[in-house]
Amino acid sequence: MNCKNCGAELHEGAVFCGNCGMKVMEEPVYQPPEQPVYAEPNQGEYHQESYTEYQEQGSYVPPVMPEYQAEPVVDGERPNTVLWIVLAAVEIFTCCQLTGIISLIFAILGHVAADKGDFAEAAGKIRTAKIWFWVGLGLGLLFVILYVVLVALGIAAGLAEEILYY
Protein backbone atom coordinates (compact mmCIF):
# COMPACT_ATOMS: atom_id res chain seq x y z
CA MET A 1 0.00 0.00 0.00
CA ASN A 2 1.14 3.54 -0.67
CA CYS A 3 0.61 6.84 1.08
CA LYS A 4 -2.30 8.81 -0.39
CA ASN A 5 -0.43 12.04 0.21
CA CYS A 6 3.12 11.46 -1.01
CA GLY A 7 2.97 8.03 -2.63
CA ALA A 8 5.64 6.48 -0.40
CA GLU A 9 5.35 2.82 0.41
CA LEU A 10 3.77 2.18 3.80
CA HIS A 11 4.66 -0.48 6.30
CA GLU A 12 1.89 -2.95 6.99
CA GLY A 13 -0.36 -1.69 9.73
CA ALA A 14 1.25 1.75 9.77
CA VAL A 15 -0.93 4.51 11.21
CA PHE A 16 1.21 7.36 9.92
CA CYS A 17 3.25 7.63 6.77
CA GLY A 18 6.94 7.18 7.52
CA ASN A 19 7.82 9.65 4.80
CA CYS A 20 5.52 12.65 5.15
CA GLY A 21 3.78 11.89 8.43
CA MET A 22 0.27 11.99 6.96
CA LYS A 23 -2.30 9.86 8.77
CA VAL A 24 -2.97 6.70 6.84
CA MET A 25 -6.56 6.54 5.64
CA GLU A 26 -7.43 2.89 5.52
CA GLU A 27 -9.76 2.05 2.70
CA PRO A 28 -11.85 -0.96 3.57
CA VAL A 29 -9.96 -3.64 1.69
CA TYR A 30 -11.97 -6.63 0.74
CA GLN A 31 -10.15 -9.78 1.80
CA PRO A 32 -11.61 -12.93 0.29
CA PRO A 33 -11.63 -15.88 2.68
CA GLU A 34 -9.98 -18.28 0.25
CA GLN A 35 -7.78 -18.07 -2.80
CA PRO A 36 -10.30 -16.69 -5.26
CA VAL A 37 -10.28 -17.63 -8.92
CA TYR A 38 -10.65 -14.09 -10.11
CA ALA A 39 -7.53 -12.84 -8.36
CA GLU A 40 -5.28 -15.48 -9.84
CA PRO A 41 -2.85 -14.00 -12.33
CA ASN A 42 -1.91 -16.02 -15.39
CA GLN A 43 -5.46 -17.19 -15.70
CA GLY A 44 -6.51 -14.70 -18.27
CA GLU A 45 -8.86 -11.83 -17.88
CA TYR A 46 -11.20 -11.35 -15.04
CA HIS A 47 -14.75 -11.46 -16.26
CA GLN A 48 -17.72 -10.22 -14.37
CA GLU A 49 -19.67 -13.34 -15.41
CA SER A 50 -17.16 -15.71 -13.93
CA TYR A 51 -17.57 -14.02 -10.61
CA THR A 52 -21.37 -14.19 -10.71
CA GLU A 53 -21.17 -17.82 -11.78
CA TYR A 54 -18.96 -18.45 -8.85
CA GLN A 55 -21.50 -16.80 -6.61
CA GLU A 56 -24.39 -18.80 -8.01
CA GLN A 57 -22.71 -22.05 -7.18
CA GLY A 58 -23.60 -21.21 -3.62
CA SER A 59 -20.32 -22.43 -2.30
CA TYR A 60 -19.15 -18.96 -1.51
CA VAL A 61 -21.11 -16.13 0.06
CA PRO A 62 -19.14 -12.92 0.23
CA PRO A 63 -19.58 -10.70 3.24
CA VAL A 64 -21.65 -7.58 2.71
CA MET A 65 -19.46 -5.32 0.67
CA PRO A 66 -21.57 -3.31 -1.72
CA GLU A 67 -18.74 -1.24 -3.21
CA TYR A 68 -16.90 -4.37 -4.17
CA GLN A 69 -19.46 -5.44 -6.74
CA ALA A 70 -19.82 -1.97 -8.08
CA GLU A 71 -16.07 -1.74 -8.66
CA PRO A 72 -14.59 -5.15 -9.16
CA VAL A 73 -11.00 -4.03 -9.55
CA VAL A 74 -8.75 -6.88 -8.52
CA ASP A 75 -5.38 -5.39 -9.36
CA GLY A 76 -5.93 -1.67 -9.33
CA GLU A 77 -2.59 -0.35 -10.44
CA ARG A 78 -0.81 -0.95 -13.65
CA PRO A 79 2.28 -3.03 -12.90
CA ASN A 80 5.62 -1.50 -13.77
CA THR A 81 6.39 -3.29 -17.00
CA VAL A 82 8.85 -0.83 -18.54
CA LEU A 83 11.42 -1.21 -15.77
CA TRP A 84 11.48 -4.98 -16.19
CA ILE A 85 11.76 -4.79 -19.96
CA VAL A 86 14.82 -2.57 -19.59
CA LEU A 87 16.35 -4.69 -16.82
CA ALA A 88 15.87 -7.89 -18.83
CA ALA A 89 17.46 -6.25 -21.87
CA VAL A 90 20.41 -5.12 -19.75
CA GLU A 91 20.80 -8.64 -18.39
CA ILE A 92 20.98 -10.00 -21.94
CA PHE A 93 23.87 -7.64 -22.58
CA THR A 94 25.77 -7.92 -19.36
CA CYS A 95 25.68 -11.41 -18.04
CA CYS A 96 23.14 -13.99 -18.90
CA GLN A 97 21.41 -13.85 -22.22
CA LEU A 98 19.49 -17.08 -21.69
CA THR A 99 17.69 -16.00 -18.53
CA GLY A 100 17.63 -12.44 -19.86
CA ILE A 101 15.76 -13.45 -22.99
CA ILE A 102 13.18 -15.45 -21.02
CA SER A 103 12.77 -12.52 -18.64
CA LEU A 104 12.43 -10.10 -21.56
CA ILE A 105 9.75 -12.22 -23.25
CA PHE A 106 7.67 -12.38 -20.08
CA ALA A 107 8.16 -8.67 -19.42
CA ILE A 108 6.97 -7.86 -22.96
CA LEU A 109 3.97 -10.20 -22.58
CA GLY A 110 3.19 -8.40 -19.33
CA HIS A 111 3.46 -5.04 -21.05
CA VAL A 112 1.10 -6.15 -23.80
CA ALA A 113 -1.38 -7.46 -21.23
CA ALA A 114 -1.18 -4.20 -19.29
CA ASP A 115 -1.83 -2.25 -22.48
CA LYS A 116 -5.00 -4.30 -22.92
CA GLY A 117 -6.01 -3.29 -19.40
CA ASP A 118 -5.56 -6.76 -17.95
CA PHE A 119 -3.45 -5.79 -14.97
CA ALA A 120 -3.84 -9.10 -13.13
CA GLU A 121 -2.44 -11.01 -16.10
CA ALA A 122 0.30 -8.41 -16.50
CA ALA A 123 1.27 -8.69 -12.84
CA GLY A 124 1.62 -12.47 -13.21
CA LYS A 125 3.83 -12.13 -16.28
CA ILE A 126 5.97 -9.49 -14.60
CA ARG A 127 6.39 -11.77 -11.60
CA THR A 128 7.77 -14.48 -13.88
CA ALA A 129 10.02 -11.94 -15.61
CA LYS A 130 11.38 -10.88 -12.22
CA ILE A 131 12.11 -14.45 -11.18
CA TRP A 132 14.10 -15.12 -14.36
CA PHE A 133 15.92 -11.83 -14.01
CA TRP A 134 17.04 -12.64 -10.47
CA VAL A 135 17.95 -16.22 -11.38
CA GLY A 136 20.21 -14.89 -14.13
CA LEU A 137 21.76 -12.26 -11.88
CA GLY A 138 22.32 -14.90 -9.18
CA LEU A 139 24.03 -17.22 -11.66
CA GLY A 140 26.19 -14.36 -12.90
CA LEU A 141 27.23 -13.39 -9.39
CA LEU A 142 27.92 -17.03 -8.53
CA PHE A 143 30.15 -17.26 -11.56
CA VAL A 144 32.07 -14.11 -10.66
CA ILE A 145 32.57 -15.38 -7.10
CA LEU A 146 33.77 -18.75 -8.39
CA TYR A 147 36.11 -17.02 -10.79
CA VAL A 148 37.57 -14.83 -8.05
CA VAL A 149 38.01 -17.86 -5.77
CA LEU A 150 39.77 -19.80 -8.53
CA VAL A 151 42.08 -16.88 -9.28
CA ALA A 152 42.83 -16.54 -5.57
CA LEU A 153 43.55 -20.28 -5.34
CA GLY A 154 45.81 -20.02 -8.38
CA ILE A 155 47.76 -17.17 -6.80
CA ALA A 156 47.98 -19.12 -3.53
CA ALA A 157 49.22 -22.21 -5.36
CA GLY A 158 51.81 -20.12 -7.19
CA LEU A 159 53.05 -18.64 -3.94
CA ALA A 160 53.21 -22.06 -2.30
CA GLU A 161 55.25 -23.38 -5.21
CA GLU A 162 57.65 -20.46 -4.98
CA ILE A 163 58.13 -20.97 -1.26
CA LEU A 164 58.63 -24.73 -1.65
CA TYR A 165 61.04 -24.75 -4.57
CA TYR A 166 63.11 -21.62 -4.18
Binding site: E9, N19, N80, V82, V86, T94, C96, Q97, L98
Partner: protein, 135 residues
Protein backbone atom coordinates in the same frame (compact mmCIF):
# COMPACT_ATOMS: atom_id res chain seq x y z
CA UNK B 1 13.98 8.32 3.24
CA UNK B 2 17.12 7.56 5.27
CA UNK B 3 16.56 3.86 4.74
CA UNK B 4 16.21 4.40 0.99
CA UNK B 5 19.41 6.42 0.89
CA UNK B 6 21.20 3.62 2.79
CA UNK B 7 19.89 1.00 0.34
CA UNK B 8 20.95 3.18 -2.59
CA UNK B 9 24.43 3.67 -1.13
CA UNK B 10 24.81 -0.09 -0.58
CA UNK B 11 23.77 -0.81 -4.18
CA UNK B 12 26.07 1.95 -5.43
CA UNK B 13 28.94 0.43 -3.46
CA UNK B 14 28.51 -2.96 -5.18
CA UNK B 15 28.13 -1.34 -8.58
CA UNK B 16 31.28 0.72 -7.99
CA UNK B 17 33.17 -2.39 -6.82
CA UNK B 18 32.13 -4.18 -10.02
CA UNK B 19 33.29 -1.23 -12.14
CA UNK B 20 36.65 -1.04 -10.33
CA UNK B 21 37.12 -4.76 -10.86
CA UNK B 22 36.27 -4.37 -14.53
CA UNK B 23 38.64 -1.41 -14.86
CA UNK B 24 41.61 -3.46 -13.72
CA UNK B 25 40.97 -6.54 -15.84
CA UNK B 26 43.46 -7.08 -18.65
CA UNK B 27 43.26 -5.53 -22.09
CA UNK B 28 40.80 -7.40 -24.28
CA UNK B 29 39.29 -9.16 -21.28
CA UNK B 30 35.85 -8.42 -20.01
CA UNK B 31 34.34 -9.44 -16.72
CA UNK B 32 35.54 -12.98 -17.44
CA UNK B 33 31.99 -14.21 -17.86
CA UNK B 34 31.98 -16.35 -20.98
CA UNK B 35 28.99 -16.04 -23.26
CA UNK B 36 27.12 -19.34 -23.11
CA UNK B 37 25.61 -18.76 -26.53
CA UNK B 38 29.02 -18.07 -28.05
CA UNK B 39 30.61 -21.06 -26.31
CA UNK B 40 27.96 -23.45 -27.61
CA UNK B 41 27.30 -22.16 -31.12
CA UNK B 42 30.45 -20.20 -31.98
CA UNK B 43 28.25 -17.32 -33.14
CA UNK B 44 28.30 -13.89 -31.54
CA UNK B 45 25.16 -12.84 -29.75
CA UNK B 46 24.03 -9.22 -29.60
CA UNK B 47 25.56 -8.95 -26.13
CA UNK B 48 28.97 -10.43 -26.91
CA UNK B 49 31.73 -7.96 -26.11
CA UNK B 50 29.62 -5.70 -23.91
CA UNK B 51 31.67 -6.13 -20.74
CA UNK B 52 34.84 -5.50 -22.75
CA UNK B 53 33.07 -2.46 -24.23
CA UNK B 54 32.25 -1.22 -20.73
CA UNK B 55 35.87 -1.71 -19.73
CA UNK B 56 36.97 0.34 -22.72
CA UNK B 57 34.49 3.08 -21.80
CA UNK B 58 35.99 3.15 -18.29
CA UNK B 59 39.38 3.65 -19.94
CA UNK B 60 37.78 6.38 -22.11
CA UNK B 61 38.59 4.39 -25.25
CA UNK B 62 35.24 4.95 -26.93
CA UNK B 63 36.15 3.80 -30.40
CA UNK B 64 37.40 0.48 -29.04
CA UNK B 65 34.17 0.22 -27.02
CA UNK B 66 32.15 0.63 -30.22
CA UNK B 67 34.18 -2.10 -31.88
CA UNK B 68 33.53 -4.52 -29.02
CA UNK B 69 29.81 -3.88 -28.89
CA UNK B 70 28.37 -0.88 -30.69
CA UNK B 71 24.75 -1.24 -29.61
CA UNK B 72 25.69 -1.57 -25.96
CA UNK B 73 28.01 1.44 -26.15
CA UNK B 74 25.31 3.55 -27.80
CA UNK B 75 22.71 2.46 -25.26
CA UNK B 76 24.98 3.06 -22.28
CA UNK B 77 24.45 6.83 -21.86
CA UNK B 78 20.67 6.40 -22.22
CA UNK B 79 20.75 3.65 -19.60
CA UNK B 80 22.87 5.78 -17.29
CA UNK B 81 20.35 8.64 -17.50
CA UNK B 82 17.44 6.24 -16.97
CA UNK B 83 19.00 4.55 -13.94
CA UNK B 84 20.07 7.90 -12.52
CA UNK B 85 16.51 9.17 -12.79
CA UNK B 86 15.23 5.90 -11.27
CA UNK B 87 17.50 6.26 -8.25
CA UNK B 88 16.43 9.88 -7.80
CA UNK B 89 12.76 8.92 -8.02
CA UNK B 90 13.30 6.07 -5.58
CA UNK B 91 15.01 8.26 -2.99
CA UNK B 92 12.61 11.16 -3.40
CA UNK B 93 9.27 9.35 -3.74
CA UNK B 94 9.97 5.77 -2.73
CA UNK B 95 8.68 4.58 -6.04
CA UNK B 96 9.35 4.54 -9.74
CA UNK B 97 7.78 7.56 -11.39
CA UNK B 98 10.16 7.41 -14.33
CA UNK B 99 9.36 4.23 -16.24
CA UNK B 100 5.84 5.34 -17.12
CA UNK B 101 7.34 8.37 -18.86
CA UNK B 102 9.76 6.37 -21.00
CA UNK B 103 8.95 6.19 -24.68
CA UNK B 104 8.11 2.59 -25.50
CA UNK B 105 8.92 3.32 -29.12
CA UNK B 106 12.54 3.93 -28.18
CA UNK B 107 12.67 0.64 -26.27
CA UNK B 108 11.16 -1.32 -29.16
CA UNK B 109 13.61 0.30 -31.58
CA UNK B 110 16.49 -0.69 -29.33
CA UNK B 111 15.32 -4.28 -28.92
CA UNK B 112 14.80 -4.64 -32.68
CA UNK B 113 18.21 -3.06 -33.36
CA UNK B 114 19.86 -5.42 -30.85
CA UNK B 115 18.30 -8.46 -32.53
CA UNK B 116 19.38 -7.26 -35.95
CA UNK B 117 22.86 -6.48 -34.65
CA UNK B 118 23.13 -10.00 -33.22
CA UNK B 119 22.40 -11.45 -36.65
CA UNK B 120 24.48 -9.05 -38.75
CA UNK B 121 27.71 -9.41 -36.77
CA UNK B 122 27.85 -13.09 -37.75
CA UNK B 123 27.57 -12.37 -41.45
CA UNK B 124 30.98 -11.99 -43.17
CA UNK B 125 29.94 -8.80 -44.99
CA UNK B 126 29.25 -7.18 -41.60
CA UNK B 127 32.18 -8.72 -39.77
CA UNK B 128 33.27 -5.25 -38.63
CA UNK B 129 30.40 -5.52 -36.12
CA UNK B 130 31.98 -8.57 -34.46
CA UNK B 131 33.97 -7.90 -31.29
CA UNK B 132 37.58 -7.10 -32.15
CA UNK B 133 40.54 -5.93 -30.09
CA UNK B 134 42.22 -3.06 -31.89
CA UNK B 135 45.98 -2.89 -31.80
Amino acid sequence: MKKRIAITLAAAFFAAAALVYLYFTGEGEGAGIPCVFHQITGFYCSGCGSSRALRSVLHLDFYQALRYNAIFTIGLPLLAVYFGALVFSYIRFGKDRISEKISMKLIWVFIAAALLYGILRNIPAFSFLAPVTLA
